[in-house]
Assembly symmetry: C2
Homo-oligomer: 237 residues x 2
């Protein structure tokens, strides 16, 4: 069963209204009828198990039969560094895969080796929404505006319960895994590095500010691979 | 430093010959000169640290100064199921990312829900070779001819020291991680499922034949995501 995304303002306690693309998909593509069951997620963590009450030209009206909060969401809240890449498909791929794995926030981070690129937030958000529905999550990951690494380290690091930084080429340090990321309900930030890696100064500053360096193995991972691997190791529900 | 791929028959003990595309890349793109250092891998697990002795129109001759076996290779030998997908870019993506993570063999597996597609082995091999060089591995992952799941289970499963099967939607079973995949020098087979998942019969037969079911978490992962996650959890050097 596919799920549908309906923003919270279209949802009342006992009924909800599906419009626009989702309405079109229900009526024209899936040719659903009143009485059929649909699963709706609000992108904020709640899933609504509904039955179609009526279908008009512009709207599908549903009755909510039951709801589940934190539906298919991980216990830990992961903010993942989104490396800014010239190759947009690699960024889009990371959004899709990171959403499947359970990332809550994607944070584009500018480092000294980052080559500026315009980020098409609207396109990335669409990819995240499609992946959320496909993988049956109920939270639509948020994609933030880009920020400087140093700004985050100096001003925002205290918002997280733990921060991990991938330290390329080092195997003498811990690897992320469920034995060390075991923080239900906590916020963690994963710094996976830009193309070309963090500079030594950036790694040192991150560690000074409280980030824990973690190994990503012996091989040199592409930026988007490193980020995905850190997310996979951190979300173990 | 980038590495170059030279097949074993072009390598003698103390010197080696770089030809074709790699020669072109060294001379025309990188404009290297006699005396420059190059790192050559043979795709079989050995890395050669060389110095260029001479450059002709068709060949770059190198003197081997030192060599390392199993260079940047994981301790465990992972054979990863390659789901056969209509969307070729998703298969290609899995080859690239699986190579970066350290997969040794990709095995396309036909299941009852697999829709047949012609696999372009030559193209997949090129992607694997590029990823091998990029991530600094010395083994070129082999991409096998496709085989039926049942044939593998009945005839080839004894070639592996351990077999794991991803069991979608189950969270009451173990998750792969370094605490349970700790098999230096051993062969493991990872069955990650086709698009649409294994049938119940396929999962049951796999378990009957000795495969250990493992959780892939609550969310429904795409076939290529599930495969990559299983590889990431299994290779923890």
């Amino acid at each position: 069963m596919e799920s549908f995304y309906v923003p919270p303002h279209q949802i009342k306690e006992s009924h909800l209204t599906i419009r626009d693309e989702e309405h079109h998909h229900i009526t024209r593509v899936l040719r659903m009828q009143p009485g059929d069951e649909v699963l709706v997620v609000d992108g904020k963590g709640t899933a609504y198990f509904c039955r179609i009450a009526s279908i008009s030209i512009r709207e599908t009206e549903c009755v909510v039969e039951s709801m589940i909060t934190a539906y298919n969401e991980p216990a830990v809240r992961v903010t993942l560094m989104l490396p800014i890449l010239k190759n947009r498909s690699r960024m889009e791929w990371l959004i899709e895969k990171g959403t499947e794995l359970g990332v809550t926030v994607f944070l584009p981070i500018i480092t000294s080796r980052t080559i500026p690129e315009r980020i098409r937030l609207d396109r990335l958000e669409k990819i995240a929404a499609a992946a959320m529905k496909q993988c049956k999550r109920s939270v639509l990951p948020r994609i933030q505006e880009e920020k400087d690494l140093e700004y985050i380290l100096r001003n925002e690091i205290n918002e997280y319960d733990a921060v991990y930084i991938g330290d390329e080429g080092r195997t003498d340090i811990i690897r992320l895994g469920k034995e060390n990321v075991n923080l239900p309900g906590k916020n963690i930030l994963l710094l996976a590095g830009p193309e070309g890696g963090f500079t030594e100064e950036e790694t040192a500053l991150s560690i000074d500010c409280g980030a824990v360096p973690v190994s990503l193995g012996k091989r040199r991972l592409r930026a988007e691979t490193a980020a995905l691997v850190m997310a996979a190791y951190s979300i173990t529900d």
